[in-house]
Every structure is written in structure tokens, then in C-alpha cells.
């Protein structure tokens, strides 16, 4: 389902945006601050601040559907992962390490593109950090261009 190239892409310096939906099908949005894949790549853990994105996480109990888009900001390479939530728990020390490593990777990339430290500080946080564990079911190419929207085969 997820090859090693995709796994290392989502663990890299990529912008991470997530969508859930409530019982009335109203969507909710949030930003992720670091992702780690399981060794067999069947599970993804994306770190999210609950204090910043309460609506997003309120919808994400076990079994809930989820969309996560990963974008490399310097070349617009983009993948959207659809998945099903396995668990949502407060982040532990290892999870916080994932987020802090992510902070270190994404800051210089955005700074080089002209994004100011002040702008980044609005969302690049480790406050009230939660680990969202989900099982990817589909991966779509969303890089702008002719392949946009293509579903990747297993």
C-alpha cells in the first residue's frame, strides 16, 4: 500500500494538513506537526495539537474516516492519504521527539521561501500534543500537473 518512498516523504519536511467530518458531514481542518510510519508502513502517527484544532480531533475516534495531505513546500510535490483512525492519545516523550525533529526540519525550508518566523509560530507548536494513529487505505498523487488525482496502486 505505502512504499518506502512515500513513507520517507511524509516523515520529511512537509506541510501536513488534515480533514475530518462530524455526524452532519461538516468538515473540519487541522495541521499536523510531524509524522512517523510504522516499520511495515501499515500505520501512520501524525502529531496534532488538540488545543489548536479541537474540532478536527473531536471527530477522530477509532474507526473515523480521515484525509491527510502532505506537501513539500519547495517543489509542491503532494500526496493525499485517506485512512481510518486507530487511536487518538496524548503524546508521549517519543512522540514529542518526532514533533521537535519536525520543527527543526520544516523551519529552514519555510524560511528559505520567505515565510517569517512570526507566521510559522502560529501553528508550529508542541502544546497539548496528541498522537493520531491511522491506517492508510488509499494514497493519491496531488502534485499539480497531469497526474494530479491519480490513485497509487498497491
Amino acid at each position: 500500500m505505502v512504499d518506502t518512498a512515500i513513507a520517507s516523504f511524509v516523515e520529511g519536511a512537509v506541510m501536513t494538513i488534515l480533514a475530518s467530518r462530524d455526524g452532519t458531514f461538516q468538515p473540519a481542518i487541522g495541521r499536523g506537526v510531524g509524522t512517523r510510519c510504522s516499520t511495515d508502513r501499515s500505520l501512520f502517527d501524525t502529531m496534532v495539537s488538540r488545543a489548536q484544532w479541537p474540532r478536527l480531533l473531536a471527530n477522530l475516534g477509532p474507526g473515523a474516516p480521515l484525509a491527510v495531505t502532505f506537501v513539500k513546500p519547495d517543489d509542491y510535490r503532494t500526496y493525499q492519504v485517506k485512512g481510518i483512525v486507530e487511536a487518538l492519545v496524548p503524546a508521549d516523550a517519543a512522540d514529542r521527539d518526532v514533533t521537535h525533529a519536525y520543527h527543526g526540519r520544516i523551519r529552514p525550508v519555510l524560511a528559505a521561501l520567505g515565510v517569517t518566523a512570526g507566521q510559522i509560530s502560529f501553528w508550529l507548536t508542541d502544546a497539548d500534543l496528541h498522537r493520531l494513529r491511522y491506517r492508510p487505505t488509499d494514497v493519491y498523487v496531488q502534485t499539480p500537473g497531469p497526474r494530479a488525482g491519480t490513485r497509487l496502486e498497491a
Binding site: 467530518r21 468538515p27 512570526g118 507566521q119 501553528w123
Partner: protein, 445 residues
């Protein structure tokens, strides 16, 4: 927390930081993607340029709802808007302005013509909320100069002063000096279109190393060219994303080989161009830029539109009202004395060189050639606007309404070059050729 009003989120709607759109498909699966630009319509509505992916479009059509995240391009503050789809549209003022902005941004990012606006969607905003900022950043330094109210009242005073001024030449300087001093916008130009509508020439400027009078930009290219070609104001608030393309944009905007360096900033972050329209005709473009992000607000745009309108009316009225002075005085005795002034004239583009230095081309070049030829033939130094308009070799009928601005351009260019040939204006409607030598014209075909 109280819901923010959309009008107070102006810096979210400038297309600076990409927005995000989330939708839900018929099976209940969410979808999320980036979106270039959310446009403010009014306190209850926004419009999205319909550039998004097929899946997003299908989800909106099936459920009629979406949620977007918009980001204040200045501070980075984030806001969530829950939207209900109203209708699509593909024409009208809002559509045109969205299209202009998209074209200017894509040109600035080196992707001209690759992202034409096909359609736009209008949404009602059902709910708006701020995303909590957990570690609020230090405030970014604010711009120096007058505040918003001060800029507006300075603009109003300036519009009045321009309206009271009958002389176009004076009004242009009055406008630029007034904008610089009263509104704090330091880098300014006025440009005029050529008769064929292919180029615009810088008539004068403020705040650059050189005035750049006579330098040219292509109609339809860049912020100035797009605003002129479409006759609508255009404002970009943060060009830093396309920084690496900025040099290329400057190269691509200014016409190479025309001989006069274009005076623009090397790394502008904000630009605004306002077409000057009178009686439906494009008279010129008023342009401002700044090395700061968000230097020009929507209200500044409105204020500059008023100034540009007054300036356009003043120039147009000057053309109509310029009195035709009585017959020229006999040629003064000193005409023809002094050192040789070597003038080369290239009829194919009406360009003029003085002593190997490019001076100007187009109608202004044709005018100077006419004056010099008449002077050499009869010793004439004084010319009236009436005889200029009627001179068959000038082929002016199609541009007679813009004669005055072309004479202003020519006169200012000669002054800027410190040329041995100058034009004086002893009174309205009359020009006098001032020579510090004896011109010799070589026509190069």
C-alpha cells in the same frame, strides 16, 4: 469568543499564504487540499477561484458545503470559515478582478497563461472563527508614515488640488509629490500608453535612482501592463514567494534594447497599478511599489483610484482646453549658431539618437524630428499645438487627444538627459525649441 467579521480579515484575502479547503464525499470520506485564493465579497460571502481538484468540486456539488482555512498574510493568524455553496459565476466585476489577480500572480511565479480563471464559486459564510494562537508571535514592524485615516484625508486633499489645477504638466508632479508626502508611498511612476497600445512609457517617477523617463513596459505584462490592458486596478501584497523570479519579472517587464533603464525596485514586495481613464480612454497608469509586504490596502487602492481619476480628467481637459496661441514670432537671430549637434532619426520606430545616445522613440521621437526639420528649413523655433496637430508628416490624427502628454514626455526626457536640445513652454499651447548648437539630422533607413 465573538465571531470575527470578514471585513476585518482583509489580509487573509490577498492570496499571499495558500488557503486550505476541506470537503466530504458522498460516502462520508473527507478530502483536503490547498487552494490558491479566497476572495472577500462582503461580510457574509466569499468567492473561490475554481482551480481546485475534481474531487473537491464533485464534493461541493454533491453536499453543498465546505470548510476553508484562511491565513492572514501579514501576521500568520488563522481563521476557519464554514461555507455553503451559493452559485458559480464566470463574468462580472468580481470575476474580472479575480482573473487579473490570478494572471498577475502566475506571471510573477513564471507561469504566465498556465492558470487562466475558468470559473468562480460564490459561498455564504455560515460561521467564522479564529484558530487559537498558542504562542503568539512578536508583532511585525509596522510601516512608517501616515495611518489609514491620514492617508485617506491626504488623498482627498490631493484630489481637490489636482481638480483645481488646469495644467497637466504641473498636476502630474503635484500628484506624485502629494502621494509621497501625504500618503507615505515613496516609489511612484506615471506611465502613458503609445498610440498602438503595445507599450507604456514612463512619463516621470519618484523614489528611484534614475527617473527613467522614456523607459518602456509591455502592455499586458506585469502589474502595470495588466492593469493598463484591462483598465482595472491591480494590487499585489506579497511578492516574496516569487522572489527568485523577481529579477526575471523585471527583465521581462521592461522592454530590452529600448535604451532607457526601467527605474523599478529590484525586490518589490507590494505593487499597485491604477489605470487613469478619462472618457473611456486610457490616459495613463499611476503605479506605486514598496519593499514592504502589505504596503497598500484595499482602502489605499480606492484612494489612489480617486487621484488617478482626477489626474486623468486634468490631462484630458488640458488637451481639449489648450488655447491655440497666436502665430509664432519670427525666428531669433542666434538660431543655427554654436557647435554641431549630431541627431540620428530612425523612421522605422521613430527613434532619435543624439551624439550616439538613445533619446526616445515613438510619437515623441517623431515630434522632435518634426521640430528640428522645420527649424533647419525655416529657422522656426516656436510651435503651436494647433500646427503640430495639423502637420501631415506627424500623422497625428489618431493620437491628437494625447499630444500634450507626449510633449511632456519629450520635454522631460530632454531635460533629464541634459540634452543640447530642449523644449521650453513659454505659454500654454506653445513650445519653443532651445538649442545650444546647430543640429544636423541623419535619417537612417
Amino acid at each position: 469568543m465573538e465571531s470575527p467579521r470578514l471585513r476585518d480579515l482583509a489580509a487573509c484575502f490577498e492570496g499571499v499564504i495558500p488557503s486550505i479547503i476541506a470537503t466530504v464525499d458522498a460516502d462520508g470520506m473527507p478530502n483536503i487540499s490547498y487552494l490558491s485564493h479566497v476572495h472577500f465579497v462582503d461580510d457574509d460571502h466569499v468567492a473561490l477561484s475554481n482551480q481546485y481538484f475534481a474531487k473537491t468540486a464533485a464534493n461541493v456539488r454533491s453536499r453543498g458545503t465546505a470548510t476553508v482555512l484562511v491565513v492572514d498574510g501579514r501576521s500568520g493568524a488563522q481563521f476557519l470559515l464554514d461555507l455553503a455553496f451559493v452559485r458559480s459565476f464566470a463574468e462580472g466585476d468580481l470575476f474580472d478582478r479575480m482573473s487579473d489577480h490570478l494572471d498577475a500572480m502566475s506571471a510573477q511565479q513564471g507561469m504566465s497563461g498556465m492558470m487562466a480563471l475558468r470559473g468562480a464559486d460564490l459561498y455564504r459564510v455560515r460561521h467564522c472563527e479564529a484558530v487559537p494562537a498558542l504562542n503568539p508571535p512578536e508583532a511585525e514592524p509596522v510601516h512608517e508614515g501616515p495611518d489609514a485615516a491620514g492617508r485617506l484625508s491626504a488623498a482627498a486633499r490631493l484630489a481637490l488640488a489636482i481638480g483645481a489645477q488646469g495644467d497637466a504638466d504641473t498636476a502630474i508632479d503635484l500628484a506624485l509629490d502629494g502621494i509621497a508626502e501625504g500618503m507615505g508611498f515613496r516609489h511612484l511612476m506615471v506611465l502613458i500608453p503609445d498610440p498602438g497600445g503595445r507599450r507604456l512609457s514612463v512619463l516621470t517617477s519618484r523614489g528611484y535612482e534614475t527617473l527613467g523617463i522614456g523607459s518602456e513596459v509591455t502592455m499586458g505584462d506585469g502589474v502595470i501592463g495588466i492593469a493598463a490592458a484591462r483598465r482595472r486596478p491591480l494590487r499585489l501584497s506579497d511578492l516574496s514567494r516569487g522572489r527568485r523570479y523577481a529579477a526575471a519579472v523585471k527583465e521581462g517587464t521592461a522592454i530590452p534594447g529600448a535604451g532607457v533603464p526601467y527605474p523599478g525596485l529590484d525586490a518589490p514586495l507590494s505593487q499597485i497599478a491604477i489605470p487613469m481613464i478619462s472618457r473611456g480612454q486610457l490616459v495613463g497608469v499611476l503605479f506605486a511599489e514598496a519593499p514592504l509586504r502589505f504596503a497598500f490596502t484595499r482602502e489605499d487602492e480606492d484612494a489612489l483610484v480617486l487621484i488617478a481619476g482626477q489626474l486623468a480628467a486634468c490631462i484630458a481637459l488640458d488637451e481639449l482646453a489648450a488655447p491655440d496661441a497666436p502665430a509664432p514670432a519670427p525666428p531669433p537671430a542666434e538660431a543655427g549658431a554654436g557647435p554641431r549637434i549630431r541627431v540620428r532619426y530612425f523612421p522605422f520606430d521613430d527613434s532619435i539618437f543624439i551624439d550616439d545616445d538613445y533619446l526616445i522613440r515613438g510619437v515623441a521621437g517623431r515630434l522632435l524630428h518634426h521640430f528640428l526639420r522645420a527649424h533647419l528649413a525655416t529657422g522656426q523655433r516656436d510651435f503651436t499645438n494647433r500646427e503640430i496637430r495639423l502637420a501631415p508628416d506627424l500623422r497625428l490624427p489618431d493620437v491628437k487627444d494625447n499630444l500634450e502628454t507626449r510633449l511632456i514626455l519629450l520635454r522631460r526626457r530632454l531635460d533629464e538627459r541634459n540634452a543640447p536640445i530642449r523644449l521650453q513652454r513659454p505659454e500654454r499651447g506653445r513650445l519653443r525649441l532651445d538649442l545650444t548648437g546647430r543640429p544636423e539630422i541623419e535619417v537612417v533607413t
